[in-house]
Symmetry: C2
Subunit: 339 residues, 2 copies
DNA sequence: ACTTAGCACTCTAGCTACAGGAGTGCTAAT
DNA sequence: ATTAGCACTCCTGTAGCTAGAGTGCTAAGT
């Protein structure tokens, strides 16, 4: 791979990303001042095809980058844009709010990213499975209705209004919540179910209904309910590679399956430094083999707890997306410092 | 409109709903035992076209129902299926939970309806604008973080974790929340903003930050944030009339605009008894002129507070959808009785 | 007077043939 | 090593054609 080949490959991919049309040697020679003739470019392109970086849709069409071509482009060729202070400022502003709910930040992030990139965006929140119980508290709302507030050691607070088990008074419940918190503080949420069978007190039977409710809710919660937020799915419709409805169906169908998305992103990315790119068939999920996924992580207290990611056609604006995710994930981590 | 015309029109629409293909006289005569020849049907169909119930895509194609045809079908012709006890039971079961959050019921409803009908479903929750303040309460979560719980007279409870204004102690806040609740109970949520300027106490200045936060949140809330829930949007992709991506874009683009959806449904339906059907160009929103919308209302304490609705191609399974919505809205009202 | 068989007519969808254009690969000259 | 030139390939768009489905009308039948 000499410099000229790299130059040609880079330029070709740039052009293809912009145009979505196979790029021919002529276009390349004329449109960009490469200082070499189309014939030379043709020779180089033949080499690049042999090396597996380019493909031809058919004999007499221009070339299109292969997965491997995109990979090389992302790793070696593309020019990352400058991070302007302006954008950082805008992102920071969007996170400036008194709200202290992770869910809120996640929604905000997903929406912002899909707006900034014009691709669908997915944000995965902190795994409840890792979280340990912090405290359970109750608040009486109306007679017969109760607000159950559960906090975890990772700073998440979730709450849910439930009906009060009839045989319990509110005072008893308050005491019970205290006891329960004291007894089980620090236990991983997803182990609670087993522990609960261990009798907490002699009248465990009495509280049965409440625990049932609590556990049902928590296990539902654990199953990535609300952990994955999808924003701007319709952005995908803008790109000509998705003019075919069945493709749209495949991709959006996958994105709607929270558990599958969570698994994909969770599996691929754990290190906090790098932005991770999955290109086409590199993915383990065949539903998105026409797509690329760019993922960044964010942290709470130095721990990677979730992913921010963008999905789009393989012909994606990698440079722009990666820089955007870099900024957003950093600012998100900063905003969540307190958690 | 004699009985035979009605019979033909009904059968034709049934067939078209099932097949999505223009229906010819031959098909109609052969496939359904109408006891008359295709020539007779042709004559009748010509009449029906003149009357505006049918249309021809082009001269030598079969007929397709016009908006007016569908309207007549829905109002006069179609056969409503029996309500089986089985389905009622399933719906009732889905609402059986200790959860007491309207948002939860709304999500549940939307998902269930889109599953049952295989069309996208939209559920609009109770308008916050009508709601009056019930009570504001606070709960300390961690040092510096506060859970703000606002309940309305209509039984809605919303809460949000916010950071504690630094200059206020938790005790002061508790007192403040009480004062505030006492002072403003019964005031419509969307009037609070104006009232708040009225000094509550001499040190209103001091609490400024908190009120700002509270009001900012409430006005955001008021703006139909989370009031409209969309489920199963991808169902639309199943139907051949949406094989064209631009149509999908138009329709789903509209459905994503919560405010527009809310307005449409709110404007059309207020009476509690009937199920309302909007067919094609009957809609005020041109983005959904290829669609029909079926809407039912649900109640809390005898008051209509929201809508459950289904959107799909004009060639919709009206009978099935209407019956489903009837059951679901009734059961939803029943489940929300307490609110 | 209504119904229906028959038939000519219309329009579409799908096929084939063909020309133009874009792009390639190869060869030979620079 | 580069490049101009050229033959070749393949797609795309257009035009013409056919088969099929469906109609409207007419005339005969009930």
């Amino acid at each position: 791979m000499d410099a000229r080949k790299r130059r040609i490959l880079g330029t070709l991919i740039d052009d293809y990303i912009a145009s979505a049309e196979p790029v021919g040697s002529r276009t390349l020679a004329k449109k960009y001042g490469l200082g070499i003739s189309s014939a030379t470019i043709r020779n180089e392109m033949a080499d690049l095809e042999e090396l597996g970086f380019l493909e031809q849709p058919h004999t007499s069409a221009g070339r299109v980058p292969s997965d491997r071509g995109y990979r090389y482009y992302v790793d070696e060729l593309m020019q990352r844009p400058m991070v302007t202070h302006d954008i950082v400022h805008r992102v920071r502003l969007a996170f400036q709010a008194p709200v202290r709910e992770i869910a809120w930040f996640i929604h905000q992030t997903a929406r912002m990213v899909s707006d900034m990139t014009a691709y669908p965006s997915v944000v995965v929140g902190p795994p409840v499975s890792d979280a340990r119980l912090g405290e359970i508290r109750v608040m009486q709302l109306q007679p017969g209705t109760l607000l159950l507030v559960v906090s975890t050691d990772s700073g998440m607070v979730e709450n849910r209004a439930v009906s009060l088990p009839e045989e319990l008074s509110f005072e008893e419940l308050g005491w019970l919540a205290k006891e329960f918190s004291r007894e089980f503080r620090g236990i991983p949420i997803n182990e609670l179910k087993d522990r609960i069978l261990d009798p907490l007190s002699s009248d465990v039977e009495r509280y049965h209904g409440l625990w049932e409710t609590l556990l049902a809710w928590m296990s539902e919660w654990r199953l990535s309910e609300d952990r994955v937020t999808l924003a701007g799915p319709l952005n995908i419709l803008k790109y000509p590679e998705f003019r075919d409805v069945s493709k749209v169906q495949r991709v959006l169908g996958f994105l709607e399956r929270d558990d599958a998305v969570e698994q994909l992103l969770h599996n691929t990315v754990q290190d906090s430094e790098h932005i991770h790119v999955i290109i086409g068939q590199e993915s383990t999920v065949d539903a998105i083999w026409d797509c690329s996924v760019v993922t960044a992580t964010y942290q709470v207290r130095g721990q990677v707890v979730g992913q921010v990611s963008v999905i789009g056609p393989k012909r994606m604006q990698y440079a722009h997306v990666m820089t955007t995710l870099e900024i957003v994930s950093e600012e998100l981590s900063r905003a969540l410092k307190w958690a």
